[in-house]
């Protein structure tokens, strides 16, 4: 156990406790989700707080991605999905169909496991969001692209090849490009689904640093299968198992002194 505590301190974990006053951005109550007859989320109660990094961990198939995709209603893309319960974003129930998903999604960015840039130039990738939301002014777009790439710590690497294909970038650069693409519409929340699991160590580090650098401006929910990563970068951690939230608490608490035996077993690699 000592190992993990040691590592926490390396990444200045102490701040966390001060954050407990933060107000929730998302509040989930009794959320159930079925894919056809598969009950993928079972009566979830969970909050995600403003300007915190919330890590979601759990074994494969436990519903992590599903939960994340519910937060921006991307999960509705799957046919035959049924949702019940309540899920509010800044006090507004987003499961209510009257809320336009486009508006929600422009406020809630998403980054996926595999980098998924569009087969367009780097510039066009970042400008995509602003453009579809109606910003046409060229100078304005240039400004947004530059700012977003700077925030994503990618500007210096790509500023000379903005108009070349995004596919020419390395995997890690592509993933940061995807984050830049999110940042370009000035989101309030960014959802990340195992954003580093396809990346090499160096790129992983860069993405983690990037998360660290934006977390004062944006709320972040991140799914990861790497427990050390969760421990390093998150303020709070939620442990999912079989569609249930087994435990959700401050990260230091989860990793050092989990309340649930299952959490303990999982954290310590006894399964999964």
């Amino acid at each position: 156990m000592t190992l993990l505590i040691d590592r926490k301190e390396d990444v200045q974990f102490g701040v966390m406790e001060n954050k407990s006053w933060r107000k929730p951005v998302y509040e989930t109550h009794g959320l159930n989700l079925w894919y056809g007859t598969t009950h993928a989320l079972k009566n979830i109660d969970l909050s995600i707080n403003e300007k915190e990094v919330t890590a979601i961990i759990g074994p494969s198939g436990c519903g992590k991605s599903t939960y994340l995709k519910t937060l921006n209603r991307m999960v509705e893309m799957v046919p035959n999905v049924h949702i019940s319960g309540s899920l509010s974003f800044k006090g507004e129930n987003i499961l209510d169909k009257s809320m336009p998903v486009e508006l929600l999604r422009s406020k809630v960015g998403m980054v996926f496991q595999k980098p998924n840039p569009f087969p367009k130039s780097i510039f066009e990738n970042v400008a995509f969001g602003p453009k579809i939301h109606g910003i046409r002014n060229k100078a304005m777009l240039e400004k947004i692209v530059q700012e977003s790439l700077e925030k994503a710590a990618l500007w210096d690497e790509v500023k000379d090849r903005l108009h070349t294909s995004a596919y020419g970038l390395s995997g890690g650069q592509q993933q940061r490009l995807c984050i830049a693409r999110c940042l370009a519409v000035d989101p309030e929340v960014i959802l990340m689904d195992e954003p580093t699991s396809a990346l090499d160590p160096v790129s992983t580090l860069k993405v983690e640093e990037l998360i660290d650098s934006i977390k004062n401006d944006v709320t972040i929910a991140i799914v990861t299968h790497n427990m050390q990563q969760a421990a390093r970068i998150s303020d709070r951690t939620a442990f999912f198992l079989n569609g249930d939230v087994i435990e959700c608490d401050a990260t230091s608490k989860i990793f050092n002194n989990p309340s649930d035996k299952l959490t303990d077993d999982y954290i310590n690699g006894r399964f999964g």
């Binding site: 422009s106 109606g134 304005m140 400004k143």
Partner: protein, 318 residues
């Protein structure tokens, strides 16, 4: 960076505010967006209109035909003499011609197509496949009129040297050529079926020391069986509907026979004969055209439904 006053003005606002502002002006776009599904649905319904058109056209004239010729005469008659002084309208000779030529075609296409599929999907190296597949596709792309010409000017004379007693127009030659035409279709559909057998299954068998032949016979073919059968059924359907090859190479004798060395007429060739020939609108022969076309349509429809059923079952397996 050069900044014009437009942005300076705009950049007072955050991106988010700009986006919100743009949202207010989106009424027209939203209406446009909302009308798209309806518009596309209308386009998609053209295919349904086509079906309705086909069925309506065929059915209305077929009904007229059956007012003049009893249905039983049509479906059980073995004599087709539409223009004779004492016309007879038995469809059986045409059905016989159609089935005979299709069976011959399948006897050629099924084994060769399947073996080609096995070779391409299980044995051929990437390079070989890259050369062979487009060549086979080429075979599929050759217009049927060209096959007809080939059957008539080359295959028939060749066969006549091998088979004494083979008539100058016969059902054998177009049957064989139709088979060749269908090979690529069966090869490619069966290959699809075999390649959609998960690789993991193939690896499982290979990992146990099975040879490619054993993997193919014991794992791949059983697993892909319904897909393969579906490809055969589609092949038959294609043969039944094929027109130009038989029109050119099998003559127009309305023979009710099993003798493949003789000239026979298929349903499709009959339609060509009647439309290209002396069919006066309003005559019984003219209506017989629709009755035969309807029969042909029903035949191929049943084949397609069958193939679809079989292959759906197949797809459910994985």
């Amino acid at each position: 960076m050069h900044i014009n006053h437009d942005i300076t003005e705009n950049s007072e606002k955050s991106i988010r505010e700009l986006i919100e502002q743009k949202r207010q002006q989106r009424n027209f776009k939203e209406m446009f967006e909302k009308s798209i599904p309806t518009f596309l649905f209308l386009i998609a319904s053209i295919s349904i209109l086509t079906t309705i058109g086909i069925i309506y056209t065929l059915l209305s004239e077929t009904i007229e035909f059956f007012k003049r010729v009893p249905m039983t005469d049509f479906f059980t008659g073995t004599v087709l003499k539409p223009l004779s002084q004492t016309p007879e309208f038995g469809v059986l000779p045409l059905i016989m011609g159609t089935l005979t030529s299709s069976v011959i075609a399948m006897l050629v296409a099924a084994p060769i197509g399947l073996m080609s599929a096995i070779y391409l999907s299980q044995y051929a190296s990437d390079k070989v496949r890259k050369v062979f597949k487009p060549l086979l596709e080429l075979l599929a792309g050759i217009p049927t009129i060209v096959y007809g010409f080939f059957a008539f000017t080359f295959v028939t004379p060749l066969l006549r040297q091998l088979i004494p007693g083979l008539e100058a127009t016969n059902i054998l030659s177009p049957g064989i050529v139709m088979g060749v035409m269908i090979i690529p279709m069966i090869a490619s559909l069966s290959e699809d079926a075999m390649s959609s057998v998960p690789n993991s299954m193939r690896e499982g068998a290979l990992g146990l020391g099975a040879t490619k032949l054993e993997v193919t016979r014991k794992v791949v073919i059983p697993a892909a069986l319904s897909g393969i059968i579906a490809s055969f059924v589609l092949g038959i359907s294609r043969a039944i509907g094929e027109t130009m090859i038989v029109t050119i190479a099998s003559g127009s004798t309305k023979n009710f026979t099993f003798d493949i060395t003789q000239s026979m007429q298929t349903m499709t060739a009959y339609i060509v004969e009647v439309t290209g020939g002396d069919a006066a609108t309003g005559s019984t022969i003219y209506y017989s055209l629709y009755a035969v076309a309807m029969t042909l349509f029903v035949f191929t429809l049943l084949m397609n439904l069958l193939a679809r059923r079989i292959s759906r079952k197949f797809r459910e397996e994985y």
